[in-house]
Amino acid sequence: MNYTLKVWRQARPSEKGKLVSYSAHGISSEASFLEMLDIVNERLLEKGEEPIAFDHDCREGICGMCGSVVNGYAHGHQRGTTLCQLHMREFSDGSTIIIEPLRAKAFPLIKDLVVDRSAFDKIIAAGGFISIRAGSAPDGNAIPVAKEMAERAMDAAACIGCGACVAACPNASAMLFTSAKLAQLGLLPQGQVERDSRAREMVRAMEDAGFGACSNHGECEAVCPKEISTNFIAFLNRDFIVSSMK
C-alpha cells in the first residue's frame, strides 16, 4: 500500500512548526500505524534526515503513551482504538494521511508529535487517590462491593490517560479524564471518606492546569480509545455540586 503523509514537524516549542509531506510506499496492510511510522523514520534516517518524534511505548493499547491526531481524529478514525492498535488496512491505498500532535493549551508541545501531558499527573496528585498507608488495610473481603458497582468502577478505571479526550474537545477540557478517576473512586465504598474533598480538589487542579470547561459536545467519548462514557461527567458534576454545598 502507498500513502502520502502530511506530518507536523516542529523542532522545538520556540520554533514555528509546519506540515511536511512524506511518501510512505510499500507498506503492508497488516502493519500497525506506528510500524508504518517506524518504516518512514528508517527511510528518513537513511537519507540523513531527522526522524519524526512520536511518543509510544507498550504498543498494545494500554500504556497511553501514544496518540496523535490522524485525519482530524485523536488516535485515528477507528472507534475504541489507540493509535498503536490502528492498522494500515483501515486506510485505503493511495490516500493522504494528516498526522498532528494532540493539541491543547494544557499540553505544551515538545517536539513534532510529542506533547507534555504532565498536567494529568497534577490532577491525580490533587486528590485522585484513596489515602491508605501500606500496611494499614483491612482484609480484602472485609469491604463487600456489589458486583455491579465494581464493574462500573472498572469501566471508569479503564482510562489510560492518553489525553485524546482533551485534544478532541473544542474547549480542551479534561472533564472525561477527571471524572473517570472521580467516578472510579466515588463508586466504591473505600472511596467515600474523601469523596467531597476529592471532587473539589481535582476540579480545582484541572482548572489551574489550563483545561477548559465542558459544554457537552461529547467529542471526548467519541475518540476515547477505551470508550469511557460521558455519564461519568454527570457523576463529577453531581459530586462537585454536592461538595461545594457542604
Partner: protein
Amino acid sequence: MKLDAKIPEGTIEKKWDDHRFKLKLVNPANKRKFSIIVVGSGLAGASAAASLGELGYKVLCFFYQDSPRRAHSIAAQGGINAAKNYTNDGDSIYRLFYDTVKGGDYRAREANVYRLAQVSNAIIDQCVAQGVPFAREYGGTLDNRSFGGAQVSRTFYARGQTGQQLLLGAYSSLMRQVRAQTVTLFPRQEMLDLVVVEGRARGIVTRNLITGELRSFAADAVVLATGGYGNVFYLSTNAKGCNVTAAYRAYKKGAGFANPCFTQIHPTCIPVHGEYQSKLTLMSESLRNDGRIWVPLKAKDGKLPSLIPEAERDYFLERRYPAFGNLVPRDVASRAVKAVCDEQRGVGETGLGVYLDFSDAIQRLGEQDIRDKYGNLFHMYQKITAENPYQVPMRIYPAVHYTMGGLWVDYNLMTTIDGCYAIGEANFSDHGANRLGASALMQGLADGYFILPYTIGDYLAQAGNSRIAVEHAEFRGCEQAAEQRITKLLSIRGRRSPDSFHRELGKLMWNDCGMARNQSGLQHALEQIPKIRQAFWQDLKLAGPANTLNQTLEKAGRVADFLEFAELMVRDALARGESCGGHFREESQTEEGEARRDDGAFSHVAVWEYRGESTTPERAIEPLLFDYCKPSQRSYK
C-alpha cells in the same frame, strides 16, 4: 565474588518475622534526612517510592516515560496471586510457596519465596483499600480464577487489565506522596550510570530526554526497579522502551548479575506476521482457563479449523499432561507448542502457530460469560488480526515475555554493591528458572510495599547520614564518561540504524538462545555477537543533535548495552549444561522430551562479575539448599 545471601536462621515460617525484629530502625524524625533514589515507576518502583515516601524518606523517582503511570507493568493482563484461600479449595501460604518453588524448577531461593507467599495476602488487602476494582462475586466478595502451574484458584483479577489497575493503584499512592512532597518525580529521564563512592551506591547520572542535559543526583541509597531485559530479543511482549541499561550499568559497577539465561517464553502470544513487526502482543494466560489448545493431527493440514472434525484434532496439552491440561506452566506449554510446530502441524501462514479455541466454552457458558471474562483481550486480538475469536479459534505462538534472571540480591534485596537495591523483575530472586502466571505482579508489589521499606531502613540506620555533593570526582567522572559515549555514538556517521542492529541481534538470540539451546548454537552466538557489536560501533547512523529530544540516540544507547549484555546471557546459557524451567538445553532432556535438571551439578544461582572490557566475566555460585521443597522431576502429567 563473595556472595552472602543473609538468609535468616530458623524455620521457614519464622524467618521473616524474626528478621524484621532484628532489622535496625531509623527514627521517624530522622527519616527525612535520608534521600533514596528509585529508578523506574512500575509496580515495584511506584510501590516502593510511595511506601518509602509514606515512611518519611525523601524520595527521588526517575523514569523514561512522561508519567509514572505508563511503566510496562501496566500491560500485565491476567492477574495477581495470593494465598487467601477465599475459594476454600485447599490453598495456603505453604502451597503458594511450594507451587512457586516447583514452578521455578527448583532454582529459586526458598526463604525469599516463602516470604513472598507470606506477604501476598497483604498485597490484595492494600490494593482493595486503594480502590483497585477487582472482579467480584455477586455477594460482593472478591472473585478468583485459575492460572498455570497451580491446582487451586488463587488469582485475583480486574478483567484482563489487572496490571493496569494495580499500577494505577500504586501510582495513586505515589501521587499522594508527590502531593505530600516526600516524593519528587523526574519524568523523561534515563539513568545512564550508577555512581559508587567508597564501595557504596551514592547516586546516578541521568540524561534528560527532552533537553539532553546530563545531570548527577546524589542519595543515601539507590533502588533499581528497572524491569527485565526481554527486549534483547528485539521482538518481545515488552514495551518498546524497556531496556537493560540501568541494570547493566550497575553490573559494570560491581553488581553481580544472576542467571541471565533464565528468560521466559510465554506460550500464548499473537504470532509474528512480518519483517517490519515492532513488537509482540501477549494473550493472557487466563485464556487457558477456558480456551483449548489444539493442532490438526495431520502434518500440513491446510483446512480451515471449522472443517477439521474432532477426530482429526490433537489437543496436545490435554493429551500429554492430563492432570494440568491446558494449564501447565508456561515453559512446558511453550515447548509443547514448539514441538508440534516442528512436526509441521502448526497452523497459519507461517506454520508457527496453534489454535486456542473457545467454542466449547462458549457453548457451555454462553458468549456473554466469555465476553465478561475476556472481552478486552478478544477485542485486542480482533484489532490486531482482523479475525473474530468468538467465531474462529485464536492463533497463538510463544514469545519472549519475562526475564527471571536479573541483578543478584540478598535476602534484603540488596545487590553486591552496598546501598544499591534491585526490586521487581530487575532482580533474580523469586521465580527460579520459570515464573508462574500472576506471580510477577505479586513479586513487584511485595518487594515495593512490604519488603524493601523494612530492609532499606536497616542499611540506612547502619550507614548513617553522610552527605555527598554531586561535585565529587566520582560523579564528575561518570558524567564525563556518559557524555563521551553520546559524542562517540553521534560521531560514527555510518549507514545503519540502531533498529537494524537490534533486529539482527534479536534474530540471533532467538535462534541460538531462545526456546531451545544447544552447545553449538550458543558457541555460534558467542562468535557472532562481538561482530554485530563491532559493526554497530563502526557503521551506526544517527540524525539530529544531542541537546533535544532524540529518540534514535536514546535507542542507540540502549542497543549498545544489549549488544554487550547478550554475550553475558549466552555465556550463562552455555555454562548451565542442564535444562531447567525456561532454560532448555537440548543436550539435557528426558526420552519424552521434558527438561532434565542436573541437581548435582547445577543446584545453584550463577552470578556473573564484571572483570573489565577485555576480560571474560567471572562466574560465581550461590548454592541453593532445599530444606522444605525437595527437588523432584517436575511432573504435570
